[in-house]
Structures are given as structure tokens and as C-alpha cells.
């Protein structure tokens, strides 16, 4: 948000440069006449009113304001009467009061940066002592680190660390898997410490991967992608004590993917408002950085069942085409864990494991028995159009698109854990 009258700004990004590039860009766009006149959004109105109220209070008690700002010793970015304004007259009330929200955000950024530095130090210690260190086999080693990351407000990294703990000793090649995950942690940590230097989209993505939380209201205030969204697949996974549902939606016109997340603790119900195989016309608000993750905005109430979804443009890639698609996405954000893609390929058994293959190659499948059997039954051993979720360890089949229906074959939450919706 920008107040162009008295030049103040407020942004949800974690940048420590004030004003941040988003605020400057918005101001420049306004100066060039690229911001349309419209009714003041509610959030902006509340911000201006709060600033007006503070400004009146500041005028009544200039001494108090003066001392609080002096104590803080911080620039008054975001304050309507503050420095950074080109208007000297606004300094008449003395040094500005610091915006509480900005202060809390700065504290959060500082905490997170400290957490990232500490994480990198911890990773270096692991490199010094080696992966053969018996401490790695103790869950407490990982849990302590995860707890410190939670304290540092880097919850996403803490989740990664907890998942990583499960890889230790999980297979004959676990050292390689653990090292790859430690490498990703290092990359996120490095990117997180250099946010202001990164290109805008990558910086936002790195901030999100580090655990920077964006409020839903802020995501929903962004410009949505409006499209006919085909609900192409669903997967449920248990993460710690939470069941996580990922819904993968494919925009028929934008030919792009979005992912909707929902969560359920014990005996809570997962979101089942999107049925696999249907099309919903509506808005999807992406998280910052062109993220795959989005929030559903307004949408038409009645989804329609899509027949022959295999004929959608951009659907039914070859296996090598899917690898290129995934490779491009991972090159842009190496910490990506999951990505949906739709391939036209047949399941087959090769070298002791199930793979999904065609004439251009094969990729390993990572499916439970029910998913695999449903995939086999739907394909009858021939090519089928399948939406899969790529993970570094293999493909998880989510849905098979037949001529007249879509079969949801993705992993399902344990019904004894999640509550049943009646």
C-alpha cells in the first residue's frame, strides 16, 4: 500500500530495504497512470484511518512520539508523517511514531535471518563430523534443530528437517538422500539470507520456502488467475500429526498449474469441495513469487464434469517431455518437492520396480498397492493419460483420465484419522 499524499508505504514482503521494491514499483506505476481509479479497498481504508488516528494523537502529544522514535533508532518507513517523505512540512510533529506492524515484521525478519545463519552453521558442523556421526540416528538431533527453526519463525524449514529425520537409515542409499536434503536446506538458507539481492519472484519464492508466512487476506487481495480450472488430481499425505491434502488444478486457458492445500488434524475433515475430474470456473490467487500454491477465490457454484480431459492442450506429455517440464521448474526453484504433470504413458514392470514409460523413457512409480492396481486396471497395460505428482523419489499416480471419466487413484487419508463428512 502506498499513501502518495504524505508518502508512506506498507508491504508484507520480508525485505529490509525501505521502501521495498514492491512499494516503489507501485508508486512508479501510479505516477505513470497505470493504477486504475477504484473504490478504496477495506484494508487500505483501515490503514489510512489508523494512521490518521495516530497522527492526531501525535499532534496532541508530540513529546511522547518523539521519545519513542528516538528510542527505536529506526527509519520511520511506513509512517504517514515520517521520513522518506519529500514533504518537509510533515516533520512538524517531530520524529514519527514507529508503526507497530513494521516493527513486528522487522523483528520477525531479524529472527528468521538469525535462524537461517544458525541453520547454515549446523549444516557445516554436519559436514565437519560427517554423516556417519551416530548423533544423526537420534531423532532428538533433528527435533532440536526443528524446534530452533520454529522459534526463528522458519516453520517450513522445520517441517523439512522433521521429514529429513525419517530418511536416516531408511534405505541402503540413505546417505545420498540425506545429503541431497541437507543440500536443499543449505540452498534455502543461502537464498533466504540474500532476499534483497534476488530477482523479485525468486526472492518471494525463497522467502516462502524459508517459512515466511503470508496472510491469506494478503494473498486474496492479489490479482487472481481466472480460468476454467480442471481438478486434475488429489493426494493426501500425513505430515507429523496433520493430514495434508494437495489438490492440483490445471487452467484450461492459461495452461498452468495451481495447488490448493488443506489440512486436518485428528478427526477433522479435509476439504472436499473440489472433486477430481470436474471443472470449476473461478479465481485462483497465487502466493507471492508465482508460486504453485494458491487460494481459491470466488468461483461459480456448480462444477461441471469434464469429458475426455486427455485432449486438453498441454496434457498428455511424453515421459521425456515431462522430465523437461519438471527440470525447468526445479532449475528455477531447486527446493521444489512436488509438481504435477500429466503424461501419456503405460505402467510397466522393469528391473524389479514399477515404472511409467513410453518410447522416450521411463520414470519410477511411487505408489501404494491400491493406486498401482487402479492405474493398471485403468490402463489395461497400454498408454493412458495419467496425472502424476513428481517427487525426487518417484512419481505418485493421482488420476487416470479415461474417455468418459476421470478416476481418482491418488493416495487417500486414513479415514480413521480424519473425520468423515456426512
Amino acid at each position: 500500500m502506498i499513501d502518495h499524499v504524505e508518502v508512506a508505504w506498507r508491504c508484507s514482503c520480508p525485505s529490509r530495504k525501505l521502501p521495498c521494491k514492491h512499494s516503489l514499483a507501485l508508486l512508479l506505476m501510479w505516477a505513470r497512470g497505470l493504477v486504475a481509479e477504484q473504490v478504496r479497498p477495506q484494508g487500505v481504508g483501515a490503514w489510512i484511518d489508523a494512521r490518521d488516528a495516530r497522527s492526531v494523537a501525535g499532534a496532541a502529544a508530540p513529546d511522547a512520539d518523539s521519545s519513542s522514535a528516538a528510542d527505536s533508532g529506526e527509519p520511520a518507513a511506513g509512517d504517514r508523517n515520517g521520513s522518506g517523505s519529500g514533504d518537509g512540512s510533515s516533520d512538524s510533529t517531530g520524529p514519527p511514531a514507529r508503526d507497530d506492524l513494521t516493527q513486528s515484521r522487522d523483528e520477525r525478519v531479524a529472527r528468521m535471518m538469525a535462524g537461517l545463519v544458525e541453520l547454515d552453521r549446523w549444516l557445516e558442523d554436519r559436514m565437519c563430523n560427517g554423516l556417519s556421526d551416530p548423533a544423526l540416528a537420534r531423532y532428538a538431533t533433528w527435533d532440536d534443530l526443528a524446534a530452533r527453526l520454529v522459534d526463528a519463525r522458519a516453520g517450513a524449514l522445520a517441517n523439512r528437517v522433521r521429514r529429513l529425520a525419517g530418511l536416516v537409515g531408511a534405505g541402503p542409499d540413505w546417505h545420498s538422500d540425506v545429503l541431497a536434503e541437507l543440500a536443499i536446506l543449505h540452498l534455502i538458507s543461502q537464498a533466504g539470507q540474500r532476499l534483497p539481492e534476488l530477482p523479485s519472484a525468486l526472492g518471494d519464492a525463497a522467502a516462502t520456502a524459508s517459512g515466511w508466512q503470508v496472510r491469506q487476506a494478503e494473498v486474496l487481495a492479489g490479482v487472481p488467475d481466472t480460468d476454467d480450472w480442471f481438478v486434475a488430481g488429489r493426494s493426501d499425505t500425513r505430515e507429523d500429526r496433520i493430514e495434508v491434502r494437495r489438490l492440483w488444478l490445471y487452467g484450461q486457458h492459461t495452461q498452468s498449474w495451481v495447488m490448493l492445500l488443506s489440512f486436518a488434524a485428528y478427526q477433522q475433515v479435509l476439504d472436499d469441495s473440489f472433486a477430481v475430474g470436474t471443472v470449476v470456473r473461478g479465481d485462483m490467487h497465487r502466493y507471492p513469487g508465482g508460486s504453485l500454491r494458491a487460494l481459491a477465490g470466488s468461483r461459480e457454484p456448480d462444477p461441471i464434469v469434464l469429458h475426455a480431459p486427455g485432449t486438453l492442450p498441454g496434457f498428455g506429455l511424453t515421459v521425456s517431455g515431462a522430465c523437461s517440464h519438471i527440470g525447468r521448474a526445479v532449475a528455477a526453484q531447486p527446493w521444489l518437492d512436488r509438481l504435477a504433470v500429466t503424461v501419456a504413458a503405460a505402467p510397466t514392470f522393469h528391473a524389479g520396480r514399477w515404472v511409467l514409460g513410453d518410447a522416450t523413457g521411463a520414470l519410477p512409480l511411487l505408489a501404494d498397492e491400491r493406486s498401482l492396481a487402479s492405474l493398471l486396471a485403468a490402463s489395461c497395460g497400454t498408454d493412458a493419460v495419467v496425472t502424476v505428482e513428481w517427487t525426487p523419489r518417484g512419481l505418485i499416480p493421482l488420476a487416470v483420465h479415461l474417455a468418459d471419466r476421470t478416476l481418482d487413484v491418488g493416495p487417500r487419508a486414513d479415514p480413521s484419522f480424519t473425520g468423515a463428512r456426512r
Partner: protein, 262 residues
């Protein structure tokens, strides 16, 4: 040196730790440049930077395995899949009134449909310890059922003994007292006239539920709508439940036969 060979070398170095062994130098190239740009101050930081660069390259540049030979496909089955609403009804049947499942399955076979792939798998798994029902599923699934059990042996019947053909193709009788069994062949008007007083006078209670369920699961299909309407009007728990059973059975048969029943 390939990225994979380089990665294996880094894994070995990371396994031992830099306290015991110096990290390997990356061969000249873009990855080595990335590490040099990071200016790592210690051997551990250098190893970490190398691991990060190589892991990112390895992830982004992954290639598929060589093409694999396709499976021998299942023998083609010309029968159409049962419809999506019929599948939805089956899910409702197994959740609410499993007594109707045999009739659902036999109607699928009788009407010349085959089981949709996801239903086939769920049914094979569900009935693997019941030889008669498993054989019925195999009949409705056709050649695909046998093909799938060859590839996923855990879906095969637990018992190798084949059940009698009659048992597989015939709707099993359900237990009920003679005075209720008499109602099975009656038309809608007479059926409702004979059944309803028992509900209205509260003569039927929870202890009668099992036999009433059996009656309504086997009565003529053309009595279901009237019976459901009349039971729904009575307004107490058991009558509502029986009304629900009648409606589900009616819907299930309409979907599978394609003919709206009376």
C-alpha cells in the same frame, strides 16, 4: 566427470566428514564457478557449497530411465463400464446398506456392464476372503480382473477353491419369517397395505430391523417407491431408515437398468 560420479564422490566425502578428509575439488566448469563465487571460508563450507550446487544440478537435469518393455495388455472386453452414478451408488451401498451389494453386482453382470477400474480393484480387495463374492467380482470384471490379479497377486482370492457356479450367479436368499416372506411377490398396493400397519402400530421395533431389511432388499422392485413414500410419512427412526433403504435400492436399479421403475 559426470554429475552422478561427482555426486558419489561428494557423498563419500560427506560420509567421512571434513575433519577426516578434505572435500574434493569440483572439476573446472559452471559448478566449480558457483562454489568459487560463494567464497566458502572453511573446508566444511566448501563441501556444503559443492553439495548444494551439485544437488541442484542433479535435480534439475534428471533424465528418464531407458524405455522399458510394455506389459502384455489385458484381453479386450467389449462391455461398457458401469456408469459414474452407478459407481457412486455402489459406494453408498457399501457404506450404508451392504445387503444390497450382491444385487448391485449381479445387475451389473446381467445388464452387460463391466466394473469400472477403480471399483474393480476395491471390490477384489474387499471380497478376497469371500470366494463366492470374489468370483462374482471376477465375473463382472471380465478378463481385466484376472489380468490385474496376475500383476498384483495380493488382490487374488484367498482360497483357491472355485465356488459352485449357481452360487455365483444367483442372488442369495435372505432370512425372514414366513409372514414377511409372503410379501415378497405382492404388488405395490397390497405390499404397502400389509406392511404399513406394523409400523403405524409401532409393532416393529429395533429387533425387527434385520428381517425388515432383508424383506426390502428382496421385494419386487416396483413396490419400492410407494413403500419409501409411505414409510417416510410415518415419521419415526426405523421407518425413516427403511424408507432410505427403499430409495437407495430403487435408485441403484434404475441406474443399472436404465429404466425408471414404477
Amino acid at each position: 566427470m559426470s554429475v552422478e560420479a561427482l555426486w558419489r564422490e561428494l557423498v563419500t566425502a560427506a560420509l567421512l566428514g571434513t575433519n577426516r578428509r578434505e572435500p574434493p575439488e569440483l572439476p573446472p566448469g559452471p559448478l566449480a564457478d558457483v562454489v568459487a563465487d560463494a567464497m566458502p571460508p572453511s573446508p566444511a563450507a566448501r563441501l556444503l557449497a559443492s553439495v548444494g550446487a551439485v544437488a541442484a544440478a542433479r535435480r534439475a537435469a534428471f533424465v528418464p530411465l531407458p524405455p522399458a518393455a510394455a506389459l502384455q495388455p489385458a484381453i479386450r472386453d467389449a462391455r461398457p463400464f458401469c456408469s459414474t452414478p452407478a459407481v457412486a451408488s455402489w459406494r453408498e451401498v457399501i457404506a450404508e446398506w451392504p445387503v444390497l451389494e450382491d444385487e448391485w453386482l449381479l445387475t451389473v453382470v446381467e445388464r452387460g456392464y463391466r466394473l469400472a477400474p477403480d471399483v474393480l480393484v476395491e471390490m477384489l480387495q474387499r471380497h478376497r476372503t469371500d470366494p463366492v463374492r470374489w468370483a462374482r467380482v471376477a465375473l463382472a470384471g471380465g478378463p481385466l480382473a484376472l489380468w490385474i490379479t496376475e500383476h498384483v497377486p495380493s488382490l487374488a482370492a484367498a482360497s483357491k477353491r472355485e465356488p459352485p457356479v449357481d452360487a455365483v450367479t444367483t442372488l442369495p436368499d435372505l432370512a425372514m419369517p414366513p409372514e414377511l416372506a409372503e410379501l415378497l411377490a405382492l404388488d405395490a398396493h397390497t405390499f404397502v397395505g400389509r406392511l404399513l400397519p406394523g409400523f403405524e402400530s409401532l409393532q416393529f421395533g429395533a429387533s425387527h430391523k434385520a428381517v425388515l431389511v432383508n424383506l426390502l432388499a428382496r421385494c419386487r422392485a416396483d413396490v419400492l417407491v410407494d413403500t419409501a413414500d409411505e414409510l417416510g410419512r410415518i415419521g419415526y427412526g426405523l421407518a425413516f431408515a427403511m424408507s432410505d433403504l427403499c430409495r437407495l435400492r430403487h435408485r441403484m436399479l434404475t441406474q443399472l437398468t436404465g429404466v425408471p421403475l414404477a
